[in-house]
Point group: C2
């Protein structure tokens, strides 16, 4: 996949220049200087030779077919250069040149034309407005970044070219090995989706790292990310988390879904490890690259200093990992060989005068302990410390184990050589114990994700045609805000229980309905123009008699027009009062990138004041629905506290799955709230007490 | 202060050794090698000369009076060495030797004796079990850590010696200037309190940095930390935050106060800047050391790359700082001198090909903007980048401003020289924009703390003698769990409103009380053996008639003995039902280190499930009480949501102040809950509906 781009045989550098410093010179020079082994032709109509290579006036003039054209010519000349490259048989084209989407609408038009031109000829396009790409294992630096990284297992895709230069520079200092580096630029054609697919199958890539500001297409991203994550770790940093969403929302669910909620849900679904901070991105990637995955979350800490050991223990406990207990079978023999003042509890403290041998013995011991899943080794530079020898001893002890070992050599010059020895021995090293633990947390989470049960989305038997009819009718008449009565019809067709009720167009009709369904009843105004019914006196509860129903009807018809003169009052919805239950809110909104997103929260203040809600992308499985419930702080209330009985949690999980199915079946439904959903005790019926649906014009 | 320790004239190194690698050799060698200018005498009865210095058999034998003795002799010989040093006139003694409190009870006894010996002679003791100390400005390295730091403004106190060696090593690599470094060891005498006092007045110290695992004395710590923080920034890292508190608690308040709550409250009170992670400690300290404090929290970002600019903006918004708006008066002229593609919005993007000059012009511009309080400057290494020149340009532009400038040069070798130039120009540099922002957050918080209004603790007129009598009576009779009736008497004496009520010892008496105070009434069992009354059927509410009262009384007397046969049932408390109101819980517990700590939370589930509570040390001011309320997530509920009216928030704030006064007046009160405190609407009376107090034996 993407062979022509990532492993080309023949490359044309279009816009090659004789002037050092110019992009067209630097790219050619970088390809040549780093030993690219394929054919390399500078293309420039005004030069005969550049950097000792014979120059051609066009790609076609090269004569032989090219695989890849790297184009850096003035913006206006790009279309012709692309055409030329296509004619010359290029399978892939990199457009370095800027001046497209990033400069406004006109540029965006040029960019769309460029992409269409390539697509129509089955040629893949990287960029425009990018730094180029590097494949260390192919000795190819087709970028204008001058560093060529060490060969290694970490591939990086980035929506920021500048960040790639910083990463290259930084990784050289850290002796880190990299595989592919791709600057995606404006992503006119090739995007993260394509590279996730390609790198997932790339044997030279052990870990995929990415810097993203957006994704090109939500569904495709999730699919390719999940497939990639099933094969190797995908670690992404998403910038722009606080960007104002600017989303107009008419539902609770919509207004509670912030800009970042979609990305968080998508990453979770796809098994993507999310780096919350930039430094964390490579902290985590390095751990994945160099060490095996932990099988559990019990961590032992090995240190020559008490303070940093406590730091590690704090970080472990705070992050939800566990401090392992060291079993007597391991601790007792260790105690005999370590000095008396050493501690063989966790943290295992080999003392400030520990030499390499003591580290080796202790590490070998704790790695053998069945109660230990991973080890964090800490070293501070003391008088007796030999950092390099200790690094070797750690390597020797860790080599015999399938458990991950992460290291923190704290300090500066005294541990520099030791750090290099660690990295060369593929032991990830961190400047503080806390950063080692943070990387380990990511490993544990990914490891748990890999072991997750298969996702099985239940398809419930439902009355889809009935919903089809209601939805079509509303769209036809332009009633995109579906009121309570019709919304309840819709969810009833998806097997939600709703209280018996009907619309009444007169006081007398209301009384008749009430008499038929039985008291007490609730009455709610039905109007496409009124969303917050209760704020306007449009809701009356606990009505116990015909008189009360009549009074309520007449008062609504009298007062609401006074308050909202323009409101079209169609009917009043009369329904039987629900039994008691815990109020929760269930909802759905569509994320602009990732589509239908489900929401759950406990009713009223828990949602409105505490913002204690959970989101999950549809379609959702039973397990995911339960995880969603459990991820709210207020979940404990559903389980019953202080003598209250547990409510029917399964009913909520199933309701979420039914909403998931409804949202998947009907893309016309853009938002919905079931608020409240009255959850009964186990064994009793839970009921949707109110519902609201928003449709999109088709 | 501590002159003999921190700036001694004559030093004796007791236990000086001829063997390199031995502590007694290293200390002498470090003192000598780093140019200590005072008198320096090795003390060793078996040597005539060490490192060219004439050796003495004892301190007394030196003849002239010494200021400081640094002792590293075997544990058993320490007491005699200390005596000798005292005899020789030492004003301060450092005991490097280990084998004291850290090895168990016997060692702790030795340590207490040592401290007492010094105290009785007015000699200050550092250690035992420490690394020693360094005063860079005094050319004194009286430690066995071999690095001597650059002279600078950051002083470090540490409860971990190993961490100091790591800090020294690391600071050398980072070219960071330090002032004093003190390894406090077991803190037998001198502790953080003493050093906070001394360093607060030390003209060579600009910032105090500390690593603490515990404090020696809570009150003294708060006092000295607050005084120091009023003079210069105090930045502390507290390890052991997850240590199991192991505190037995009979109140809600007590059980909700975790191990770290006391430290958090104490640091907040004292204006201590808390570093949550170890790396942050020096990130923050460096910013304080090198840059002026910001006057507000509006931040401008200046970058040559879009991605890192977004990172900075994310970090700023997420941390509660604000992205500054660049005013047209600044932006318009900038736009004219920057390339067309540059952005003069915030982040200000000077583009990848920016040279030093462009950085300088842009930085000078945004620093002049009245809407900008601080600037974060980001550089990624691009083809045109000259990191050293850019560092100089940033320095030149920042030099004319009183606003802080924090820098992130991202990358490795390409920016190394630029980084050094930044540090030398006193511009703090960070490996990622996020770390620069985190340091800036700390600066903003400290700056706000310095500008806080003066703390005025209100003393309310109360009936202290009445409480005295009740407390004494309970302690005398051993009734340390004060039941509802007496607890309400106590808080009534501190002017809490309580519902009218009285204890009844028979059904008839209960009815008489109910008739007198009026229906409806509540009845609650009174027994020193029953804490959770309602769980046992010991609470009946809304009783409306004599019959109901009689039934309730008899049922309690019948059933509770069946459930808790051993419970002593004294009486039943009959009281008038409170009016409606919002239930909150107010409480007090005593932190083992920092004394009385107040708690506030919304009643019921908010406390029990959501753990949405706030703590604050007593005594508390009106402003602090309000901040406490506002710091809970559920505070919005008190302000009134969705048509509900706001409750009397002032009444809660005042109640907290009255509890604060009660807890300060009566150290015998170890815990109390007022649960619920029924807060009424503004203008109505808020009432303590239930109360419980725990006393300590005196």
């Amino acid at each position: 996949m993407l062979e022509a781009l990532l492993k080309p045989g023949n490359i044309a550098v279009v816009g090659a220049s004789r002037t050092p410093g110019k992009v067209g010179y630097e790219i050619l020079s970088n390809l040549q200087a780093n030993g690219f082994g394929g054919g390399l032709t500078p293309v420039n109509p005004t030069a005969a030779e550049i950097l000792g290579l014979p120059c051609k006036p066009s790609c076609k003039a090269i004569g032989t077919s090219i695989d890849l054209a790297v184009i850096s010519v003035p913006t206006a000349a790009v279309p012709a250069a692309v055409d030329d490259a296509i004619e010359a048989g290029a399978g892939a084209i990199v457009v370095i040149t800027a001046g497209f989407k990033e400069v406004g609408a006109e540029g965006a038009g040029r960019e769309r034309a460029l992409a269409a031109r390539c697509r129509s000829r089955n040629v893949r396009l990287l960029g425009p407005n990018c730094l180029g790409l590097i494949n260390a294992h192919h000795n190819m630096n087709a970028s204008f970044a001058k560093h060529m990284p060490r060969k290694g297992g970490i591939s990086v895709i980035s929506q920021s070219g500048a960040l790639l230069t910083a990463i290259l520079d930084w990784s050289a200092e850290r002796r880190l090995g990299l595989s592919k580096l791709v600057s995606m630029g404006n992503k006119a054609d090739l995007s993260e989706t394509d590279f996730l697919e390609a790198l997932a199958d790339d044997p030279d890539t052990k870990v995929i790292v990415g810097y993203l500001e957006s994704v090109a297409a939500g569904d495709a991203f999730i699919k390719s990310a999940e497939e990639a994550a099933s094969k190797k770790p995908v670690v992404l940093f998403k910038a722009g988390v606080t960007a104002a969403g600017g989303r107009a929302a008419s539902s609770h669910t919509g207004s509670l879904a912030g800009a970042d909620v979609g990305y968080a849900a998508a990453f979770r679904r796809a098994g993507v490890v999310r780096a919350e901070r930039f430094e964390t991105l490579f902290d985590i990637a390095t751990a994945f690259d160099m060490q095996p995955l932990p099988r559990g979350n019990r961590v032992a800490v090995l240190t020559n200093a008490g303070g940093p050991g406590i730091m590690a223990a704090d970080a472990i406990e705070l992050s939800g990992l566990k401090m392992a207990g060291i079993s007597p079978a391991i601790a007792d023999p260790l105690r005999k060989v370590l000095p008396a003042a050493a501690s063989v509890n966790n943290p295992v403290d080999v003392l400030g005068d520990a030499d390499a041998g003591r580290y080796g013995i202790a590490l070998e011991g704790v790695l053998k302990d069945d109660g230990v899943d991973a080890v964090v080794v800490i070293l501070t530079p003391q008088a007796m410390t030999d950092a390099v020898e200790t690094a070797r001893a750690i390597h020797a002890a860790a080599a015999g184990s399938t458990k991950p070992v992460l290291v923190s050599f704290m300090g500066g010059d005294d541990v520099r050589a030791g750090r290099a020895a660690l990295i060369d021995a593929r032991l990830p090293d961190y400047p503080s114990p806390e950063r080692a633990v943070a990387a380990l947390v990511a490993m544990c989470e990914y490891s748990a994700w890999l072991r997750r049960p298969p996702r099985v989305v239940t398809r419930f038997p439902v009355n889809r045609r009935r919903v089809e009819r209601i939805v079509q009718r509303h769209i036809r008449t332009g009633e995109l805000q579906v009121g309570e009565a019709a919304a309840k019809e819709i969810i009833q067709a998806y097997d939600f229980h709703i209280p018996p009720g009907a619309l009444a167009d007169s006081a007398q009709a209301a009384v008749e309905i009430a008499e038929r369904i039985g008291y007490p009843v609730a009455m709610k105004i039905a109007s496409p123009d009124i969303i917050h019914k209760s704020d306007l006196g449009g809701v009356k509860l606990h009505l116990n008699s015909a008189d009360a129903v009549r009074d309520a009807y007449d008062l609504m018809m009298l007062r609401i027009p006074q308050r909202v003169p323009a409101a079209r009052l169609q009917d009043v919805y009369v329904e039987k009062m629900c039994g008691r239950g815990r109020e929760v809110i269930l909802g759905m909104t569509r994320d602009p990138q990732f589509g239908p997103m489900l929401m759950f929260g406990l009713g009223g203040i828990f949602v409105e004041v505490m913002k204690d809600v959970a989101f999950h992308l549809a379609p959702i499985t039973q397990e995911e629905a339960m995880q969603m419930l459990e991820s709210t702080k207020s979940f404990g209330l559903l389980r019953g506290v202080r003598g209250q009985r547990s409510v029917d949690v399964q009913a909520i999980a199933e309701a979420l799955q039914r909403i998931s199915q409804l949202a998947t079946d009907f893309p016309q439904i853009t938002e919905m709230d079931i608020n409240p959903f009255m959850v009964a005790e186990v064994g009793r019926e839970s009921v949707a007490a109110d519902a609201r649906i928003t449709l999109a014009k088709e």
